[in-house]
Amino acid sequence: MEIKCHKVASGCASGPALVTKDSISFLGNVNPETGVVVDPAHELFGQCIAGKVLIFPGGKGSTVGSYVIYQLKKRGVAPAAMINLRSEPIVAVGAIISGIPLVDRVAQDILKLKSGVLVEVDTDRETVTIE
């Protein structure tokens, strides 16, 4: 299945989906050295976001979160791509400075997708392809 989206940060990548209905504050929610979600209150607590297509409503919290995304990328534990319902500046800036493809403006139904399904993000065509 192919759905339309809006490009925020350019690139093309694929990986298994990791889906949450919770917003993410990269500063505090995610360990920048390992990519593991460390906030017990978060739906993804204990899971690793490395190499995944991370699907979440949007970012929140400190603007330092942008730099944390960059640090994840440099450690090789960043998501392969990210999909938001609506991107806000923290995640948008983090994705751009890190070279991680990010798209938004997809239907809310994408949050019902099962984690583990293979998803491809193509920002040139502005499409999300679900296996």
């Binding site: 809006h6 925020v8 940060a9 350019s10 920048p32 603007t63 330092v64 942008s66 730099y67 944390v68 960059y70 640090q71 440099k74 991107s87 806000e88 500046p89 923290i90 948008a92 800036v93 751009i96 400075i97 070279g99």
Partner: protein
């Protein structure tokens, strides 16, 4: 968003990878906020300087960048006095990383003035009607409100992007439609000095991200406007305000929808709720002290000896412009620290309670430093430091 031919070329990477990514940041933010196009900025003030705030993640990003800023660009305060950090009790490894951060900015062509009050240093950075990309919330408020320039509150990367590209997306406070007052605030009180910090502390909580229009019984001076805006940007997220008859006027025929009235008793309550006489440190200069404030502090200290730690924070250029005042203040046992402040330096964390005359510091010290905060006038702060309370 509409891009010019040259902006398109930058977007395609024809001017290098750093500029391509910087343009991508500006375009993404423009898209998120519905900007039609980019506009040139006169100057940039960059947040993300104190290593305490940006950490290894931020330092790595800045060190990895290449290129040169194309408009005058200066920095927010660092986590320490860049020369006298040892006196502040800063650890060696923190100091090394802070110096590396500063060097990384210097390499990009950024002027190394670390201050929250760029407008106290250089008139040319912001004039009425100029578009800017400034970060520090109190400087944003001062530029928009007192100078009549136009800037949104930029994050570290978006400010740096504006500095390297020389442009910012046209939205928010750059547009008249978002500069109309939302709240009319009548204050029936004879305010002076730190009362303006207390007023901002109260009004920011009420109006949040609104645009208050004040009707006051007094005409505040620049340092009082500085304190008012800084406090509202901390207790709320106010980026623009007006004072009837004092600041540049709002766009024509805009009448605020909501009305608030405050009395002197409301201001007095702030002092009563946050007493400072049991503090183990007194810290002044949030935002950074002006020349006039240093003068007043020197007069109040009048050759006394401080009984408690007393920090006076200012910009290095201001301290350098009045070495005699700095000497008078330090001869009383106080320390004049430059490039930094009590809010962004880890040096604050070893104290139990800090007395301040700033509504902004009153908001941030407990959360960012884990230190209790007391509030008083400049005169009360100096009395407490001298052990005369």
């Amino acid at each position: 968003m509409y891009l010019s031919r040259e902006e398109e070329a930058v977007s395609r990477g024809e001017r290098g990878e750093t500029l391509r990514r910087m343009m991508e940041i500006l375009v993404a933010l423009g898209d998120i906020y519905g900007a039609e196009r980019l506009i040139p900025v006169r100057s940039v003030q960059i947040a993300g300087v104190s290593f305490k705030n940006i950490g290894d993640a931020g330092l790595e990003w800045i060190m990895d960048l290449s290129g040169r800023v194309v408009v005058p660009s200066i920095l927010n305060p660092a986590g320490m006095d860049l020369c006298r950090w040892q006196e502040m009790g800063i650890a060696e490894d923190f100091a090394a990383k802070q110096q590396a951060t500063i060097e990384a900015y210097r390499r990009l062509g950024v002027t190394i003035d670390c201050t929250c009050t760029p407008y106290q240093l250089y008139d040319s950075l912001a004039r009425q009607g100029d578009h800017l990309a400034w970060s520090e919330s109190s400087a944003v408020s001062y530029a928009n409100s007192v100078i009549g320039a136009r800037t949104n509150r930029e994050g570290g990367p978006s400010a740096l992007a504006a500095a390297l590209v020389g442009k910012t997306p046209l939205f928010g406070y750059h547009l008249d439609e978002n500069r109309k007052p939302t709240h009319l605030v009548n204050v029936d009180a004879n305010l002076k000095g730190s009362d303006f910090g207390a007023l901002g502390f109260l009004v920011g909580k009420i109006v949040k991200d609104g645009v208050p229009l004040f009707r006051l019984q007094v005409k505040p001076v620049k340092d009082e406007l500085k304190a008012l805006g800084a406090a509202m940007a901390a207790s709320g997220s106010v980026a623009l305000y007006y004072v009837d008859g004092v600041t540049p006027s709002p766009p024509n025929d805009s009448e605020p929808g909501e009305k608030i009235t405050l009395q002197m008793s409301d201001i007095d309550e702030v002092y009563e709720k946050y007493p400072g006489n049991d503090a183990d440190i007194v810290a002044l200069g949030c935002p950074h002290c002006s020349h006039e404030e240093l003068q007043r502090i020197a007069e109040l200290l009048e050759e006394g000896k401080v009984q408690k730690e007393l920090w006076v924070c200012t910009a290095r250029k201001i301290a350098d412009s009045c070495p005699d005042l700095v000497k008078r203040i330090e001869e009383c046992g106080a320390r004049v620290f430059c490039d930094t402040c009590m809010v962004v330096s880890p040096a604050s964390e070893r104290y139990q309670k800090m007395m301040v005359n700033s509504g902004k510091a009153l908001v941030y010290i407990p959360g960012l430093c884990g230190v209790r905060a007391g509030f008083g006038s400049l005169e009360e702060c100096i009395s407490v430091a001298l052990g005369r309370n």
